[in-house]
Structures are given as C-alpha cells and as structure tokens.
C-alpha cells in the first residue's frame, strides 16, 4: 500500500507548527501517532500535500493537575493514559476507555488529540471526556480558544477544528465528591441487519442524593450518558432523571440507561442482544 506524496514538516514548537499550518491551510494535515491518519492516507481517503508532525514538540506531551482540572497534553499517548497514576486515581472512566482502545501496539502510538481529532464515532476516549465536562484548547497563529468537547464534534470525521489549528490540551475537571463516573461498553445487534453491530460506551455521571445505606447507596437521581457510535452527527448526550437507584453504579449503568439509549439513538438501535 503506497502512501501519497507529501512534504514533511517537523516543527519543534506550537508556534512553528501554527505558522506552517497557516501557510498551507487545508493542504496540510497534522500528524500525531499516525494510527488513524496513516491508514486514511494508505486507503487514499486523504491526500494532503503537507504533513505537520508534532512528535518533536515537547510542550504537547505531559499531564499536570492544575487546581480543579487535569490538563493533558495533546501528544499524551493512550498507552500513557492507561498507566498514569493521576488518571488511575481521578479519571477512572477515561482510563477504562484508554484500556479498551485498539491493541497495545496501537496504544503505544495513538494520542489523545488524535483520538479526538479523528472524530471517529467509535472513538473510545470522547464519551468519558464529554461526561467529565472536558474542554479542548485549540491554538492557531490567530490565538487560542477553548471549546467544550460536547460541542466539538460535528459529524463522523468533522469537528470544530480549523485546518490551521493545533489541539494542544485537553482540560478535564476533576470529579468532585459524590460524582461517580463509570464507563460501559455494549455490543448491540440489530436483528434485521445481522452483521450490523455497535459498541456505544456510556458514562453515567451520578450524584448521590439519597441517604447512605451500608451496601445499596441511593445513586443515580440524574446522570449524563454520552455515548459513542449511536448517532450520525455527534456524540449523543443525554441528561436524564433515572428512577432506579442502583448499588454499584460502575456495574449497572447500562441497564438503567438502556431504554433511553435505544430510543434516542439514530438510527434507532435495537435492544442489546442479551436483552435488558
């Protein structure tokens, strides 16, 4: 499989990358881990004349906690997210998404910005990030803007990102006491189209409202359920009042959210095959 011809640029700072992107506009494409872009180039889906590789920009790589936010550099890899102690302690649902992504070889190259930038409906990181209320920082030579991730996706492969912008950071608010993020992956099949299946991850963000009980806490008075490939336009976000309370939110969200998910998804999805 041959790659199309392109010029290769390797800036060492975000400013330099932005300058190159401003010069070439839509004729340039940012290259991070390449696990999505390289495949699209090989399949001739894309043929940019310039690739702007971010791998020498050190400032895009890292993770820090700043007040009530965790700031993740665009080049932080998915493999790093799976083992990062800060992510493990405070962003467990993001970690679950990262662990589910591809194979270890893919995770070693894949970056968080690339997963968001690819705007694949099946991408594993955005659902949890949307539920956390994450924002992305987009930088160009014109300046910088902050966009909530929930508003970032415009459709499969389409985002708020302009050709001259670099996604430099993902800012994730640290969950506060009483918020219980969890992620769940379903396999659903549509009976009439036997080969069609989807894996919509959902992440309920529940607030404890009832009195504590020894094992069965009263969880889930309201929840956010962003899910992955359940609609053609963007990651689907529901704020729902759930009637059911459940004792182990990390184990039970799919069951509670199931009717909402299946009725709201586009095209409508059938009941998951094991049938709740």
């Amino acid at each position: 499989m041959l790659l199309p011809k392109f010029d290769f640029h390797e800036p060492t700072s975000v400013d330099e990358a932005c300058e190159i992107l401003a010069t070439f506009g839509p004729k340039a494409k940012v290259l991070a881990g390449g696990t999505d872009l390289m495949v699209n180039l090989k399949k001739k889906i894309l043929a940019p004349e310039n690739l702007v590789c971010l791998s020498r920009i050190d400032s895009l790589h890292g993770i820090v906690e700043e007040k009530d936010q965790i700031v993740i550099g665009g080049r932080y890899t998915v493999a790093e997210l799976t083992v990062d102690p800060l992510v493990e302690k405070k962003l467990g649902a993001l970690r679950s998404g990262a662990r589910a992504l591809g194979s270890p070889l893919v995770r070693n190259r894949a970056t968080i910005a690339g997963n968001i930038g690819s705007a694949r409906p099946a991408a594993d990181l955005p659902p949890s990030l949307i539920a956390y209320g994450a924002t992305v920082i987009l930088v160009s030579s014109q300046g910088k803007r902050e966009v909530p991730l929930g508003d970032f996706f415009k459709g499969p492969g389409f985002t708020e990102l302009r050709p001259e912008e670099v996604l430099t950071e993902v800012r994730v608010p640290v969950p506060t006491a009483g918020q219980a993020p969890a992620t769940s992956t379903w396999a659903c099949a549509r009976p009439r189209i036997a080969t069609w299946s989807m894996w919509p991850p959902i992440l309920p963000w529940t607030r404890r409202t009832g009195p504590s009980k020894p094992h069965g806490l009263s969880w889930g008075r309201w929840a956010r359920h962003p899910c992955g490939p359940a609609g053609p336009k963007r990651h689907w976000l529901v704020r729902s009042r759930t009637r059911r309370s459940f004792s182990r939110p990390e184990k039970r969200p799919a069951r509670t959210a199931s009717p909402l998910m299946t009725s709201g998804a586009q095209p409508a999805i059938a009941r998951p095959w094991w049938g709740f």
Partner: protein, 150 residues
C-alpha cells in the same frame, strides 16, 4: 524531496536519504534489506511489522522512516548474538510456537519487550502484551507456553 535521516538500527548507525512517504517497514526491508520485519495488513491490525522504536514496540507500517530520524530501532535481526539465538527465539523453536513463521518476528519483538520489563509475566499479562500480534496458524497456546518458559 528526499530527507536525510540518521538513526540507529540494531546498534548500527545508519544514514540515508529517503522520501517522506516511505514507511519505516519499507525502509527496513527495501533500503536496509532487513526483511525479518514482515508486511501483513499494512494498516496496523496484524503486528507482523512490529519493531521496537526508542524502547517501545510499534507497528512500523504506521511510522514514517523520517519519523525515526535520530531514534533507535530494534528489529528481529538484532536479537541473536554470536553466542546464538535470543532466549525468546530459542523458546519459540523449542515449543513449536512457529508454523508458517510470518507472525513470529513481530510476536517475538512484543514478547521480548514484555520480558525486558517484566521477567515473570503471568498468562494474562502475556496475552495482553501480544494482543496486537495476530497468528493465523498456531492457535496462540504454544506461543504463550513459549513466552512463559523463558
């Protein structure tokens, strides 16, 4: 326009002028004649092209040769020494963990990386480490047994 790159491949300094659209797999195979690194799917699915780049196993079919500039690449050819095969290679032979052999270089690179980090992995850790390397022949059990035995 060709770009000049300088990298270390199996502890040997290499310098070459390459087209930006040359993948690291093709660079290794066609410019350096290191054909141990295989080309399977070429889209990141099979792991036949696995090499270790700056200490991390990657699908070399998704890496450009120009991206390896200044970096260190280890391929299957770098494992054996004058004293003989690498212990992981020996284990694969002893356990019959090879049939057609197409997946073996990639599989061995992933296994070697795992064992360098974790000399006594359990079966779950072994399965996780080779999850990106597909084998169509062996059914995996012999590969797992081989890695366990090292």
């Amino acid at each position: 326009m060709k770009k000049l790159i300088k990298l270390t491949v199996n502890d040997r300094e290499v310098e070459a002028a390459v087209e930006p659209n040359l993948t690291l797999t093709d660079f290794l195979r066609y410019e350096l004649n290191l054909t141990g690194t295989k080309k399977g799917c070429e889209t990141g699915d099979c792991g036949a092209c696995t090499v270790i780049l700056d200490g991390i196993p990657v699908n070399s079919c998704l890496v450009l040769a120009v991206q390896a500039n200044g970096r260190k690449v280890e391929t299957i050819e770098g494992l054996a020494t004058e004293e003989g095969l690498h212990p992981v290679q020996d284990a694969f032979v002893e356990h019959g963990a090879i049939q057609c052999g197409f997946c073996s270089p990639g599989m061995i690179m992933s296994a070697k990386h795992l064992l360098d980090k974790n000399p006594k992995p359990d079966e779950g850790e072994i399965r996780a480490a080779i999850a990106g390397n597909l084998c169509r022949c062996t059914g995996y059990q012999k590969i797992i047994d081989a890695i366990k035995s090292v």
